[in-house]
Assembly symmetry: C2
Homo-oligomer: 246 residues x 2
Amino acid sequence: MGIVVSELRQTPVSEQELEIVERKGLGHPDHICDAVMNEVSISLSREYIKRYGIVMHHNIDKALLAAGAVRRNFGGGEVKRPMLMVFGDRATYEVDGDPVPIDEIAVSTAKKWFKKNLRFVDPERHVRYQVELARGSEALRDIFSRKGKFYGANDTSAAVGYSPLTDTERIVLHTERYINSPSFKKEFPETGEDVKIMGSREGGDLNLTIAMAFVDRLIENENQYFQRKAEVVEDVTRFVKSSSMV
Amino acid sequence: MGIVVSELRQTPVSEQELEIVERKGLGHPDHICDAVMNEVSISLSREYIKRYGIVMHHNIDKALLAAGAVRRNFGGGEVKRPMLMVFGDRATYEVDGDPVPIDEIAVSTAKKWFKKNLRFVDPERHVRYQVELARGSEALRDIFSRKGKFYGANDTSAAVGYSPLTDTERIVLHTERYINSPSFKKEFPETGEDVKIMGSREGGDLNLTIAMAFVDRLIENENQYFQRKAEVVEDVTRFVKSSSMV
């Protein structure tokens, strides 16, 4: 088991002339897919451990969230077609003849996630669920029960990590967390959770582009929209410039 | 329109002690999704240009390929449940009342791709198709027809590229191309296209791990499997060591 430590020799990103950082927020489809599938993997692992004492092989990391259709309207629109969440990849559906309710676990975990994280998404009415998980490869099903020197692994993977964050990264991350925080949502309940922030730094100048939809039910007309938008910009600008950020 | 050029100052990857490179081959589900969606985007753009003179807004880059189910058998198994290809994201379905046959274009493009690239996948019998593309965001639909100094863009994106490849990258890439080449498939027709190669270099030692399934129809028994596998290993080893690689 070889561990190799090498010295990193490069111009720190914060000292480079150009830096671009993107953060997809809580309600962004890509984040929803990753977060839900992560929760499904945790729920499933707990169920496997409860039943068999070990985690059985599964690769729960592929999902697709397809957009629905809505009719928007100041004061309140209508969801005309719910979103569709498709669960892909593989799990162990059966252990020695004992079936594991994979599909039920996946769907109920997703519903819990929506309920907990997105104020305006009704997990029953606004999302359809389609479980397309397949049985795990037979050659890998026993991977966690093999005896050996090391723990079993689901997959061969190379992971990359780094620390600390640059100022740009920290500002982008904290700004997303701030505009999706309970206190901000209390102040600006009409701002949705589907947020994307791009931070673009050239030298010492930082530009933040924030995409954040407003919920039509809570906006009565165009004037109010632009007024609230200006208030959001003012509030977020104050936050970004506040000492807590630097 | 600012262009910033900075000098790269870091230890070249090829001189670092550890290097890990992975390549997913032609028949890997991730590659299939990317390749098919790329083709769909091209087909669709051509259709838009033919009809309207410009490309209409679309984001065709999300797909999910869910595994089917098979019964394997030396000499020939059976596909018990076809794969499922789900097309997600957005396209412009209608221009000034004129409907564009997005779903048909997506499915027929995918079928063509399977037919052209995977010898043993029958696009009619082995794959189901589910188009979940939604209408594009209204605010973005006219993005290519806006007048301005610059061309319109579908999205805000940061792209990263580099050159040249390291030796490890080149060996991994060329090995995948080799084992998925027509000449190799003629010599070893029983090797499938769903290939994954991991190259792991420690100092001057390179380890290649190749995952490549055999097609059961073309293997008669266990002995033949191991014999052919040994021949594949010998052939690939010869290729990797050949002067053409370095």
